[in-house]
Symmetry: C2
Subunit: 387 residues, 2 copies
Amino acid sequence: MIRCPKCNQVHAINRSGIVRGMQRYFCKDCASYFTITNNTKPAPEVTGNKKHITTIGDIARALNISKSTVSRALHEHGDINAATKKAVTDMARKLHYTPNLLAQSLVKSRSNTIGIIVPEFLTYFFPTVIIGATEVATKAGFNVVICQSQESLKTEIANVNVLLANRVEGVLISMTKETKTFDHFRSLERHGVPMVFYNRVCEEIDCPKVLVNDYDGAFKATTHLIQAGFMNIAHIAGPVSLRLSNNRLNGYMDALKKNGLSVKKSLILHTDLSTEGTKQCAEKLLSMKNRPDAIFCVNDPAAIQVMLMAKQKGIKIPEELGVVGFSNDPMASIIEPSLTTVSQPVADLGRTAMRLLIASIKNGTESKEPIYLETELIIRASSVMAT
Amino acid sequence: MIRCPKCNQVHAINRSGIVRGMQRYFCKDCASYFTITNNTKPAPEVTGNKKHITTIGDIARALNISKSTVSRALHEHGDINAATKKAVTDMARKLHYTPNLLAQSLVKSRSNTIGIIVPEFLTYFFPTVIIGATEVATKAGFNVVICQSQESLKTEIANVNVLLANRVEGVLISMTKETKTFDHFRSLERHGVPMVFYNRVCEEIDCPKVLVNDYDGAFKATTHLIQAGFMNIAHIAGPVSLRLSNNRLNGYMDALKKNGLSVKKSLILHTDLSTEGTKQCAEKLLSMKNRPDAIFCVNDPAAIQVMLMAKQKGIKIPEELGVVGFSNDPMASIIEPSLTTVSQPVADLGRTAMRLLIASIKNGTESKEPIYLETELIIRASSVMAT
DNA sequence: CTGAAAGCGCTAACAC
DNA sequence: GTGTTAGCGCTTTCAG
């Protein structure tokens, strides 16, 4: 409701363009032009040393228009006068306006943010997953916040709470090796936040999961060792709490059985995945009276520990000890002899998981059948005698 | 203003405890107890399939008290009746209340969040910095959001904008190798968001910086090569855009000069840090007619590329080629021969940077003298003839 | 010790 | 096409 400052009436007012950034009006009654200067709120005082951050209101005031118009101009939002829009965007630039996502999220109750929880990111595996996942999320217009649980359940719970408090729209999770209670995941369910598990999945939660075909990878790896002539093959397995450990263990055992070899409990050791834990397993296996002639390890870092210890003990690889790892870590091709390993489509794992997550954010419930990505055996020097 | 439902008066009302989670009142006039059930807003309907997320208002309604009281009860906020507080916290648990950080941040204009920008995190360096920095931030009560610029200026700018839009309270930055314009950093300055640069610092911005003593590390490394008997030492340097490249280059050159060796421009090559780029440098140096007898590399990944190529060409390390890297990557101790390198206090770098950042968030401007952390030369097999 | 009310920055009907 | 209004969920004076 614009009132003419001269004739004080309100019905015969027209807009007449924008001059020096201010909306200009024309009163048809008294035939005069005017701009309105006194706004509801005074311009912010420069009190104290706190920097004032430009808001949509500042732009509105500077232009003598309403906040809604500014909001619309900034968002390609339906009908908006081209001149107004230009005035607004120019003024926004001039005042260095940055939208406040917190406020936007609050009113829209959508934060446009997705959380990713990784147990660690010192080895190449999880960073690579993150890169793949982020790529997909960014393309879909989501921001990503990365949390590392550091293999600690307590931290994982804290991570979930932070993500929840920040009202993320979905979470990608790979559990810690010590996660055996799942209330924090249920908490996400309760809040209606979709989850997708990848790599280290939680059986108890009904949601999409993306895995590598661990069983098949392990089966191929073990079969390869057998075909290469090894007869007494040990396995350093992962923590029993992780399903992937069991899948790889089963692949190993089935390969032995299928080839007529017996499964010896004494040759199956579980590491907690820490360097120390793995070293102990290696030590135990390598100092047996009836030493295994090959070891299939749950992952490459473990295989590398085995190789280092074997070297230290003067055990020749592969002549006296065949070694195979899992994951095709960059280290595997650097170490000597180079390490035979099972490669996984790591970035793809991230991409697939993120795609599923975004689908469940958008369409509600998704197919909950776990998705398995295939592995590839990469044969290198650690498992094959030079010919 | 509580009105008695029986006698309809308003002055003689007393609170009389909380029963079944509801505030109970007593009217002295008609001597009757009552609770008030009709609240300003009706309880949220379970419309559609959108999950309702418990708010402070839900708790207030359930207990027939005001939102302010709930807020206070939830925050140890001054005077609050112990019974009320218990009722509130119990009800909060019962309704699975999770505070909305977006709303809190909005009203407090403090997000309690700090951003960390890393150029990449596939090698161990940046993840380790992040772990150190996160540790300090968490202790100080800040959340951390990690952004990876993937060595792309465009992504770096996008990262800054996301952090800005999310109103982070401070940012830890290590630039991409291609960052040569700095408007996005100025944008942070303008918004009053403190920054601290680490490792790859920006000269143009006046703020705290944390670095490793690159010059000294390079000087020690080069001096070591000279003392080990190498005479014709090349250097694969980093991108000129990064100050650390120049610092390491200067350390290399000064060490040569100080030991009476001449600096040969032809033996100084710049890599862009990509595997491909480094390979080209290595190829060039290793196929010179007058091949250098040692190479000091700007970092370990580069040194490892050199070693791999040398092996491929049948050049013996260290007999025919001494190699020294920088950063003590885990790979350095795995490769054979093991790689001599300059180790940096990486996690400490992160911790120090985060401490400085938190200080500038809390106290405003900080000391802006760059801080240098010391390095240590780790001598391994790649630079020392077996005796 | 507690309630009412204002407002953080922004969007989204609803009017005109 | 644009202004008005009413919140999003929460904290924080200001009164009692």
